[in-house]
């Protein structure tokens, strides 16, 4: 067991820390997505290799070797200083790696640089109202008409659709093929005629997502990634990537600290909440679980660096456990606050900007989203433990 990163990396850490120190006042405000400030900051981070380090130079990156430890150090130092870590979004996190692996040279040239610097913003068109857990049953169709795909159908859960320039989208192009084999992966502009974006209000009462409707949307034939009918494989290369990131233990640790702070500050009948043995017991229970997930995460990091451990199961449980844990943690904060815990919206007594109720609900959404936790249990038992797949059966 060796939890230090070694001399070389400590030097790198010092370098990052210096950058953070020097640039603290140059970072953009976190909420201004893709402001001029944010784009300038993004470019600075890329230049210095503090985001998207491994994107090849010819596509606008630094072309650095993958180095998990350096990435971790950057995340730790930026996190510690609560420093803006650069632009995120599905174009950067999902489409870029797809194009690097499966795009044509032309597509990489055209899309990667503008995407990573924030000049081109993307949304993801996967889920449909009738295709959630069973994503491969999607029914949005694209038919070839001359040199164009003609797209009709509907997507849902499309975050950022209202501001995106482009969409990467799964559509059914071979209706006769078996369901996983009839899908293609298309790229098209969101201002193409026939696209309507409607905000989808969720239980947090905010439009975090959208519905997107396609009516005879015409898209040039060549805007496809991978071959016709191979869109499922293109998309699937990344689905696993998304899941692990839905419940990062660092964030749980930081929320736990915020909860501990509340419990020291708030009182009921003059007694600090932390002095209530029942609430303290619940806090300690949650803390034990957060610790287990944090060390599990360290183990996963180590396994990615050293590649000498089988951590298949340890990785598979992160989404399932992490989302339930966060939902409970946020719920505990609401519970201990009593009536004040109900505050939401413009209520002046709301604590921490209403994040407790928001995250309590949002994490219930994440228990469902990104592959419901029931689907996660299927995956763990089937792929993790080798138990039989659900038998096929039509039940109507």
């Amino acid at each position: 067991m060796d939890l230090s990163f070694g001399q070389e990396y400590e030097e790198f850490r010092a370098e990052v820390r210096q950058f953070v120190e020097d640039n603290r006042d140059k970072q953009p405000k976190a909420r201004d997505y893709r402001s001029e400030d944010a784009v300038a900051w993004q470019k600075k981070l890329i230049e210095n290799g503090y985001t998207l380090r491994t994107i090849p130079k010819e596509y606008g990156g630094l072309g650095a070797e993958p180095d998990i430890i350096k990435s971790r150090i950057i995340a730790e130092e930026f996190g510690r200083a609560q420093m803006h870590t650069g632009l995120a979004g599905q174009g950067i996190s999902m489409l870029t790696p797809i194009l690097l692996e499966m795009g044509t040279e032309e597509q990489r040239q055209e899309f990667i640089r503008p995407t990573i610097v924030g000049e081109m913003d993307w949304c993801q068109g996967y889920s449909e109202p009738g295709s959630g857990s069973d994503l491969a049953s999607l029914s949005t169709r694209a038919e070839l008409d001359g040199d164009e795909w003609v797209i009709n159908g509907q997507k849902i859960w499309t975050s950022g659709a209202h501001r995106a320039d482009w969409i990467f989208c799964l559509v059914r192009t071979e209706p006769e093929a078996r369901k996983h084999h009839g899908i293609s992966f298309l790229l098209f502009k969101m201002d193409t005629p026939g696209i309507e974006v409607r905000p989808l209000v969720d239980m947090t009462m905010t439009p975090n997502f959208n519905e997107v409707f396609f009516t005879d949307v015409r898209v040039p034939k060549h805007q496809i990634v991978g071959k016709r009918g191979e869109g499922w494989q293109v998309a699937n290369a990344l689905l696993g990537f998304e899941r692990g990131s839905l419940a990062p233990p660092d964030a749980a640790q930081s929320r736990l600290n915020a909860l501990i702070k509340i419990m020291h500050q708030e009182t009921i009948n003059g007694e600090r909440l932390i002095d209530n043995p029942l609430f303290r017991e619940r806090l300690m229970k949650i803390q034990g679980r957060v610790m287990a997930m944090s060390y599990n995460d360290m183990r996963l990091l180590s396994a990615r660096i050293n590649k000498n451990q089988d951590t298949k199961l340890a990785a598979m449980v992160v989404k399932l456990q992490g989302t339930e844990l966060r939902h409970e943690l946020e719920g505990l904060a609401i519970d201990v606050m009593g009536e004040i815990g109900l505050s939401f919206g413009d209520n002046p007594y709301v604590r921490d900007a209403g994040t407790w109720q928001f995250q309590y609900m949002y994490y219930l959404g994440l228990i469902i989203g990104g592959g419901t936790n029931q689907i996660q249990r299927n995956i763990i038992s089937e792929r993790g433990l080798g138990m039989p797949r659900e038998p096929r059966a039509k039940v109507k």
Binding site: S137, L200, M203, I334, D346, I368
Partner: protein
């Protein structure tokens, strides 16, 4: 021996349910929640059915029914996430005013729908550093938080010693405090030497009103959770994934079975708690505490599970399931958390100091 609802009670519940099914579709709830329509719209209709006067003696124009009757009405209101001031103005305030005596005129006004009485019980139930007030010489100064009903005409205010005062809304500075539950309102009251009429110095008046309120909250959660269970089963019977109704997956079936297993015994518990308030003075306090605490735990489990059964749809405003989810959440936090209630249950039995 009959443990169950009488024919009259069943008829009462049916008629309320029928009214709410017809007059309060989800879209109407949504309009009231977002403030497009005032909650008085539905309260008006319920007044015509006699709801505000349920517990008020006939002599004051009420219906003079019992707590068990009120509990089954509360259950129906919860089932339909009915907006309005039922808990404060039809239960807690009338119970207190009636027991305290000398408030016949106000009770009549409540019964005929011309006045709504809110409550501000924070100091007596669990005082917060942000609030607090003093009463002297019939005048009140200070602040109450999370008073029930932002649209009341009067407030019944309890101090730390469980004395009860009436304060007119016209005499206070009132600010709506928005919560996740948009079907019922809470507010801040700022008193600046406002008139405060003493209603009761008898702690038992406060306690019975609180017990009644808590029992009705439990009944409200029973109804809301039953609706969420029904909605989950119905959704699972029409939603298909992987060429199957999701209701055919054992995971979904067992989630629904667990909701039933937790919720169904709660029905008898709520009935008994209502009956205890009516007839069993030795048991009523313990029942009120345990019933609210237990229902809020079960309600939370049902609310989460039903949302999960709905998948992504459960998370949207499209099906509006969250109105039930949040209503159950509000019942949990208001007038005593489960932990607080269980400590109280322990004290009632002499198990705690």
């Amino acid at each position: 021996m009959e443990f169950g609802l009488s024919e009259e009670q069943t008829l009462l519940q049916d008629s309320i349910n029928r009214y709410l099914s017809e007059e309060l579709p989800l879209d109407q709830v949504r309009k009231i929640a977002t403030g497009d329509v005032p909650d008085s719209s539905v309260w008006q209709g319920l007044t015509e059915l006699g709801i505000p006067g349920l517990l008020i003696p006939e002599a004051q124009g009420g219906v003079g029914l019992g707590y068990l009757d009120a509990a089954i009405v509360s259950e129906s209101l919860g089932y339909h996430v009915t907006p309005g001031p039922f808990l404060a103005s039809a239960i807690i305030a009338p119970v207190a005013l009636n027991l305290a005596g000398g408030q016949e005129a106000l009770l009549s006004s409540i019964a005929d729908g011309s006045r709504r009485v809110g409550i501000a019980f924070g100091e007596a139930v669990g005082a917060r550093a942000d609030a607090g007030f003093t009463v002297a010489d019939g005048k009140i100064s200070g602040k109450s938080l999370f008073a029930l009903d932002s649209n009341a005409d009067d407030y019944l205010v309890a101090d730390a010693d469980c004395n009860l005062y009436l304060v007119s809304a016209a005499d206070v500075k009132r600010t709506n405090l928005s919560t996740v539950d948009m079907t019922r309102s809470t507010c801040e009251l700022v008193y600046d030497n406002a008139e405060a009429t003493l209603v009761s110095r008898d702690v038992n008046v406060f306690i019975e009103a609180l017990d009644a309120g808590r029992t009705m909250q439990a009944a409200d959660t029973l109804g809301a959770a039953q609706s969420m269970l029904d909605q989950a089963v119905a959704y699972s019977m029409q939603r298909e994934q992987f060429d199957r109704l999701i209701a055919s997956f054992q995971a979904v079936k067992h989630m629904c079975a667990d909701m039933v297993a937790n919720l169904e015994p709660c029905r008898a518990m709520v009935w008994y708690a209502g009956h205890a308030l009516d007839e069993l003075p030795d048991e009523k306090r313990l029942m009120a505490c345990h019933t609210k605490a237990h229902l809020q735990e079960v309600g939370q489990q049902v609310a989460k599970t039903s949302t999960e059964v709905h998948g992504g749809m459960g998370f949207t405003d499209l099906v509006g399931l969250h109105y039930w989810f949040k209503r159950i959440g509000a019942n949990r936090q208001l007038l005593g958390s489960p932990e607080m209630l269980r400590e109280e249950a322990a004290r009632i039995q002499g198990f705690a100091a």
